[in-house]
Assembly symmetry: C2
Amino acid sequence: MRLSPAAELAVRGVIVLAQHRGEGPLSLKAICEARGLPKQYLVKLFAMLAKADIVTAVRGKGGGFVMARDPADISILEIIEAVEGPVILNFCQHTPPRCRHEQCRLRAVWADLQQTFRRKLGAVSVADCVAAGPASPQPRRK
Amino acid sequence: MRLSPAAELAVRGVIVLAQHRGEGPLSLKAICEARGLPKQYLVKLFAMLAKADIVTAVRGKGGGFVMARDPADISILEIIEAVEGPVILNFCQHTPPRCRHEQCRLRAVWADLQQTFRRKLGAVSVADCVAAGPASPQPRRK
C-alpha cells in the first residue's frame, strides 16, 4: 500500500516548478537537478501533467515548463490522479466493485479510507507545499 | 495508490478460512475455490501468514490450514502487514525519511494519512468481516 513512484515524482516535480514560478520556463533538466529526480521518467510524467492542464510546455530556445494555473488552485490529489488515474484503493472500490459480497464490512471501511484520502490530499494545494519551506536546494525567496 | 494484490488476496483467503473455523483444516484448493483466488499465489502468501502466526499449516492427509488465533484478535492491518511489510504510504514516511525537506507540508499530511490508515484497518478484525455477511459462496451458517 503505497503511492506509485510516478505520482511521487510528479508531485515533487510540480512543487519545484511552482517554486520557480514567475522566472520563465524551467527546463526538465533544471527541475530534475533541483531534487535529484530521474529525467527520463519525468519526460513522460510532465506530458501527462500538461494534458491535465497542470503544467504548460513552452517550446523553442529557452523553453521548458511553466505552471498552467495558479499553484493555489492545484491540489496534490489532482497531480496524483493526473498520473495514476482516479484513486481506487482496492478491489472493493471499483465501479462496479470487483467483489460481489455487498454486505462485507471491508467495503465500507475501504470506502471511508478512500474518501479520507481524497479529501485530505485534495485539501493541500501546491502553493501550500511551496509556502511551507524549501523543497529544492535553491528555492525562490519571497 | 492502492493495496497490493498480495494483501488483497491474503485478506480474502483469511476471511474464507475464518468462516470455516471449527470445521477442521481447509485445503488451499478449497480456500481458493471459495472465492476464485489464484492458488499458485496463495501458497506463498499462506506461508507468510503462517510465519506471522495468523494461520497454521496442518500437514498430512486431510491437512490444510486452520486459524492460528481467534479471528476477533486478528486485524485486517495485521494481515496486510504480514504480506506487505509495514505500511509506509510514501517516501516521506520512511524512517529516516527519504526526503530531506523537513518543513514540507506534505510530510505532515502523509503522516496523518498513514496514521488514519493504520488506525482504521487496525480496528477491523477478521471476525468483523466474517460476521458481516457472506464472503464465500458457501459460508458457515451460525
